[in-house]
Amino acid sequence: MKYIKILIISLFITLITGCYNYRELNDLGITTAVGISKDGDNYNLVIEVLKTETSSNEENKIETILYESSGKTIQEALRRAILKSPKRLYANHLYMILIDEELAKDGIASIMDLFFRDVESRKQFYVLISKDDIKKVLETTDEITAKSLVERLKVNDDYLSNTTPITFSKLLTKYANPNIEMVIPSVKLNDKEIVIDDTAIFKGDKLIGYIDEHESLYYSLIMNNVSDTVLTSLYKNEYTTIEINNTNTSINVLNNTFKIKIDLSGYIAEINSKVDLTNPEIIKEIEDTFEEDLKSRISKFIQKVIDKYDTDIFGFKDLMYKKDFKNYKDFNFKKLNFDINIDILLKYKGNGVKELNA
């Protein structure tokens, strides 16, 4: 009798599945991107939602719908967007948020706060700055704009590292840390095509400038974020490219001087001057050339950030806090002493022993 009771109760449970957190997949509007801009007092939102209804004649082609809404706060605008959508907006699988450049210049504190406290989203989405009108950016393709953009960012990060893609959760740790500033990649429209553009650098929650793709690479090198990249430099007045597939950067503080040590290893990819690659002296020479060149470029870049923007995107102050707390209080980014030491090791010359046109 006891078991019959349990059976009846469990059968009832199946009938009342309207309870805790139940949502059928059909009722979800899977949101892939949220674009936020500000027009005067109003926040304008552009929300990219997947169109999951398939018609039988065009199978497996995913389209997206854009919903626009505005409100005095972001949350209010989000609520208004729900009125336009037949499905409940579901942000757990958000790919990215796009922040308008102008809004970023005014400060993104409210956005950070909103998404930080939001219980539903996964915080693994990417954050991007849009230099052009967000709606136009999201309208360019029929496909999921957010997905293709994020995938491009990831591929770039893996093979070139001249952007600095960052997820919201990582951005949040930088935002919450007063000793390190945020760096967010930006996108712009180039003849109806979205391109990943310069990288925006922040001071506090405000965008204050951009660094170009080379500088982004140097930034990533300093931050030890590079896995694969290519470096091009002049060797004997001819452009030469080396491919880097192993990097390691360590920064130490010694007598208020930051010792940045960058170890790179890779191989010669393209060489245009006629030299004998079998000669170890030549290889050493190429290594030295690249080391010198990279060192001067990185120092110039750091100096530029110090002089022009005065924003500690590298987290030197944070490093000071961790490694040399005695001098932490006296830390002045403007008067930063640094010393760069670059070691390039070219392991391979490729398949051929001698290049063909020697």
Binding site: S10, T17, E24, N26, L28, I30, T52
Partner: protein
């Protein structure tokens, strides 16, 4: 004599029982036998002829003379009416001499039994090809052929008010747990039941009652499996007229072993065993986890999957749980009809089955293609077990997991799993913990569990 009258009254003058009167030395001798169970030629050849020969000899004690002189090899002296009836219904011929107290039972069984066939429900590619038959003596012969020892002991008990079925408890003296043998013997002996038609009936008599649907007794038709179990100290119960023998006590791990496991290299066997364990859990969890992910915990799916599932489900009007249940029932129906219908309906069943559990159903917008794959995966994974009861037990737990998933999502699955584990651990298989080589851990037995280690290296 009143025995004959009594028998005639009790059997309501059954035509099958033949009473033949013969006069030897002035004494009336009755030859009684059941026509359908005995072989007529052996009665006339051995019994009637020898009785005729006795006419020439003078003797005071006719019964003992017959016993000495008769050609028949199995002669049993009986002295009461009940024994007479038992032997008569077992195919013996009864010789009754009027005015003498003794009765003689002579075996004249006709051979209305099947020859030894090949196993049909437990197929092994490499392994012996003989299977048990309905005749219990043939079955004991098949065991004795493999175990030639004085220590192969058999306890016999007859149960069933009407069937009077012979039940043998077979075990190896010195290996099996004697107290368990006695316990089962006592249990069987004290059973008051109308009849035992197959060995499955005994499962309910000797089995301990618990709410775990998983089996603790294995039924098998393979003599090699029975003998291997006997050598491990298990007890085998053999029921006359049933080709399936019962092996007990069995724990969960035993159901993952097949007789073929021991004819291959241990390293290959291990991989097969891992696959079987994997399929056990696939069969348990797949529909439940799918339901949980689709209706509650969408954030746990990779985004690509979510988009894919959302598109597939967009035309389905039912909730995921209902959809899964519907397809589960479809599969169970198909499985059941496939077993019950013999041969002739098989091909039409498979065609119709492919429509229900196939592309047509998803084209019609009733189910999503992914659901068909989920159900198909579950169905495949729940079948690679010899013991059919495992399939049935799995079905119970699968429903439980699905209910958990549809009411609380992944947390519900976890709750159901806790219930499952508690149930399994607390189950007792005739005094043995059900998850025995794992919990409580027995390292020597673990060497023949999920993985099999070469016995030479132990």
């Amino acid at each position: 004599m009143n025995y004959i009258k009594r028998l005639q009254i009790e059997t309501n003058n059954l035509k099958d029982i033949v009473y033949r009167k013969k006069k030897i030395k002035g004494k009336i001798v009755w030859i009684i036998y059941s026509d359908s169970l005995t072989s007529g030629s052996s009665i006339s050849d051995f019994i009637i002829k020898s009785l005729d020969r006795l006419n020439k000899i003078t003797s005071i004690n006719l019964a003992s003379k017959i016993k000495e002189d008769i050609y028949n090899f199995k002669v049993i002296e009986i002295d009461n009416y009940n024994d007479m009836c038992t032997y008569l219904h077992s195919g013996f011929t009864i010789i009754l001499i009027e005015k003498e107290k003794k009765l003689l039972a002579l075996e004249t069984k006709s051979s209305n039994k099947r020859s030894i066939g090949i196993p049909t429900s437990e197929i092994a590619i490499r392994g012996s090809k003989d299977a048990f038959t309905e005749d219990y003596q043939t079955n004991i012969g098949l065991i004795k052929k493999r175990i030639k020892s004085n220590n192969l002991w058999i306890k016999e008990v007859n149960i069933g008010k009407y069937t009077n079925t012979i039940i043998n408890i077979v075990y190896i003296n010195g290996k099996a747990d004697i107290s368990l043998v006695n316990k089962i013997y006592d249990k069987l002996k004290n059973t008051n039941i109308d009849g035992v038609i197959n060995s499955g009936t005994l499962k309910n008599i000797i089995g301990e009652s618990n709410i775990n649907p998983m089996p603790t007794i294995m039924s098998t038709e393979r003599p090699d499996r029975v003998c291997r179990s006997l050598l491990r100290g298990k007890i085998v119960i053999l029921v006359d007229n049933d080709p399936y023998l019962l092996i007990l006590p069995e724990v969960l791990n035993d159901f993952f072993k097949t007789s073929e496991d021991y004819s291959g290299k241990p390293i290959n066997t291990s991989l097969t065993r891992i696959l079987r364990y994997l399929s056990f859990y696939i069969a348990l969890f797949t529909p439940a986890i799918y339901i949980a992910l689709i209706t509650y915990n969408q954030e746990m799916l990779p985004t690509e999957f979510l988009i894919n599932f959302a598109m597939q489900r967009s035309t389905v009007p039912f909730p995921a749980f209902f959809e899964a249940f519907m397809m589960m029932i479809c599969f169970e129906l198909l499985h059941e009809s496939d077993i019950r219908s013999s041969g002739f309906a098989g091909s039409s069943l498979s065609i119709v089955g492919a429509l229900i559990l196939g592309e047509a159903a998803s084209k019609a917008g009733i189910v999503s293609p992914i659901m068909i794959i989920i159900i198909a995966l579950t169905a495949i994974a729940s079948l690679p077990f010899n013991e059919y009861e495992i399939f049935n037990g799995l079905r119970w737990y699968r429903i439980l997991f699905m209910i958990g998933a549809s009411s609380l999502g992944i947390i519900g699955v976890v709750f159901a799993f806790i219930y499952f584990i508690i149930n399994m651990i607390s189950t007792n298989s005739f005094g043995k913990p059900y998850l025995t080589p794992f919990v409580p851990t027995n390292f020597t037995k673990l060497k023949d569990s999920i993985i099999r280690i070469n016995p030479r290296r132990q």
